[in-house]
Every structure is written in C-alpha cells, then in structure tokens.
Symmetry: C2
Subunit: 198 residues, 2 copies
Amino acid sequence: MTASLLEHLIDALRVLPGVGQKSAQRMAYHLLERQRDGGRRLADALAEAMERIRHCSRCRDFSETEVCPTCASSARDAQLLCVVETPADRLAIEQATGFRGLYFVLQGRLSPLDGIGPRELGLDLLAQRLEEGGVRELIVATNPTVEGEATAHYLAQLARARGVAPSRLAHGVPLGGELEYVDRGTLSHAFGSRSEIP
Amino acid sequence: MTASLLEHLIDALRVLPGVGQKSAQRMAYHLLERQRDGGRRLADALAEAMERIRHCSRCRDFSETEVCPTCASSARDAQLLCVVETPADRLAIEQATGFRGLYFVLQGRLSPLDGIGPRELGLDLLAQRLEEGGVRELIVATNPTVEGEATAHYLAQLARARGVAPSRLAHGVPLGGELEYVDRGTLSHAFGSRSEIP
Ligand SMILES: [Zn+2]
Ligand SMILES: [Zn+2]
C-alpha cells in the first residue's frame, strides 16, 4: 500500500520545529475535522512565503522586495545601526524598544567549527557600509552566549577600525539566554542602557 | 502598512492546535531559514489533503475514495465491528492491536448540550448496517469519559435491539483519559480483554 494523502500530510507536518509524529497526527486530524478553510489558507500562505520571501540586500532581513521597507524608509535614523543574529531578534527589539535606527541581520553567529565565518554573516557587506560613512553608532545586539559574545567582540573591532563607535546592550539581559525570549520590559531597559564598548 | 507575507504566514500557522503567536513565529522563521523545500512540500500536502480527503461512506473514517481501503478489503473479518470516536482512536487501535475486523468512526460522541445526537454520529447508518446482518459483535471503544460512557451505553442498546452482542474494552484503560494517548501495551491488553456488555 502506498502512503495515503493523510500519511503524506502527517509526514510533511514534521518539518515544523518541535513537531513529532504524535503532534503531526493531531494537527492533521484537527485541520481535517474542524479547519479545512484554515488548512487551505495555511497552504496558500506557505506556498507564497516560501516562493516570494528573500533577503533584503541592505540588511539581510527577510523581505519581499529587493530592499525591505525599514531600509527603504526615510523616517529611520541611518546613523544608528543595530546588528542582530536573527530576524526574530530584530523583531523582538523592534517591538520592545523605541529604536528608530536601522538593522543588520547576521543570520547566524561566528562559529568556526561549523564553518560559519565573517563571510557567511555578510560582514564584508557590513564593513563596506561602515566605510561609506554615515553610521555613527553600531549597536551590537548579539545574544549573550559564548558565540554571541565572540561575534560581538569581532564586530566591535570591525566598527572601531572604521571610526564607528560600537555599543552593546546593558547588562540585564540574562546570561546564556536568547534575546527572542526575553520579556519586553527587560529588553527595553537593556536596550536603553546600552554602553559603549571600551 | 498592509500585512507582509511573513505576518500572513505567522497568522495562518496559528490555525494549528497548540500553536500560539510565539511558536508560529518560530515555525515561520525555521521554514524560511532552513526548510524552504520542506515548507513547499507541506504547502502541497496540505492543499491536496484539504481538497481530496473526505469520509468513507461505510465507516465515516477519512478516506480519499468513496469506500476506504479497510472497508473495501476482503481480508478483514466483517463479523467484528469496532466503534470509535475519532480517526485517531481508530489508528491507535489498528496500530496497537491485532484487530482484523472493521471499524465505524463516530466523529464525535453523544453530547446533547452541544447539539450532537445520534444523527450527527451517523447512528442511523450504523443501525442500518447491523440490521443488514453479518455483524456478530459490536466492540464499543469509545473513550472512558462521561460522554464516552453515555455513548457506549446507547450503542450497546442499539446493538442488542438488533441481536448483535455488544462488548467493550477491558478495564485497564485509565479513567478520564483519551484512547489516543494510551500506550500501546495497555491499549493492546485492554482490547484483548474486552468483555461483553451485560
Ligand atoms: Zn533591509
Ligand atoms: Zn471505511
């Protein structure tokens, strides 16, 4: 017997993070029993997103256009550039703080053992941007993990070498944690109390 | 600003059971960053399943065809008919036990307050089938909850009135639990030790 559409769906759902066989089964049955329209909408949203979402050529964040709305906005302060590891971190900062500058999304962190070096994080692009002038402060908002700190150190050197002042988030972000999961208040406070990297 | 494809995707993912804003966000980023192909496959599987999976006209289980492969199989023992609440319960029994009879899927349980009566559970179809003859034993495998027990009571009467012996799963299934989450060993044991409903 070949796999049925249902088995095929259950299998496909397991591509989602944290979803095992049992949850995938529950999800499939839930959609079939109670949410056919929601399931169809999800299928459409997925297909369109996978096809049309790419990376902004300026900040490397996800974008539907060559340059994302934030980078293209004249209302943002281009003198402030905030570097984050992931789009989720960018979103967390955007939602928690009043930051009105621009972002640069590494899409990772330095991790030599995994073959992730400056090139993979687009740091040539970042260096070029700092050399163009116009950026006054580079806010380094990598995660407070070992690799995140190493990346922050590298970024601070890269900024200083180009006459740009690096800063980092204030203590307050718990060590070993992930920015994405820090509560808004703590994140907002830490962002406001960022200090220059000496 | 209108909702972006990304926001649209995050919103659409929340149709999945147990998925809130934060998990939906994680899922969307995960697919975009690391699983574009998996995301496309999921979109296709969802679209096809929502469109093409319907209910078997014999047992009411999900099926791609008018009559499902189990009901259409000549290798199954048509003298034994096992009634379950949901397709997930049917799958759990099929996987845990050596049962080679047929199934009838209620797609619910009697719940007068929610307007779910015998008609909504297809009990007219079931009664008709028992009247056709050929069924020797009706195995009532509803969940051991209050509503499941009330449904079992109703089914036992329905069977007896048509000269069919009702049986139910042996004690061993934990009270208040859901069949779908019972471990295979317990479920298999309970199925094997089913007793006639006196
Ligand atoms: Zn951008
Ligand atoms: Zn069937």
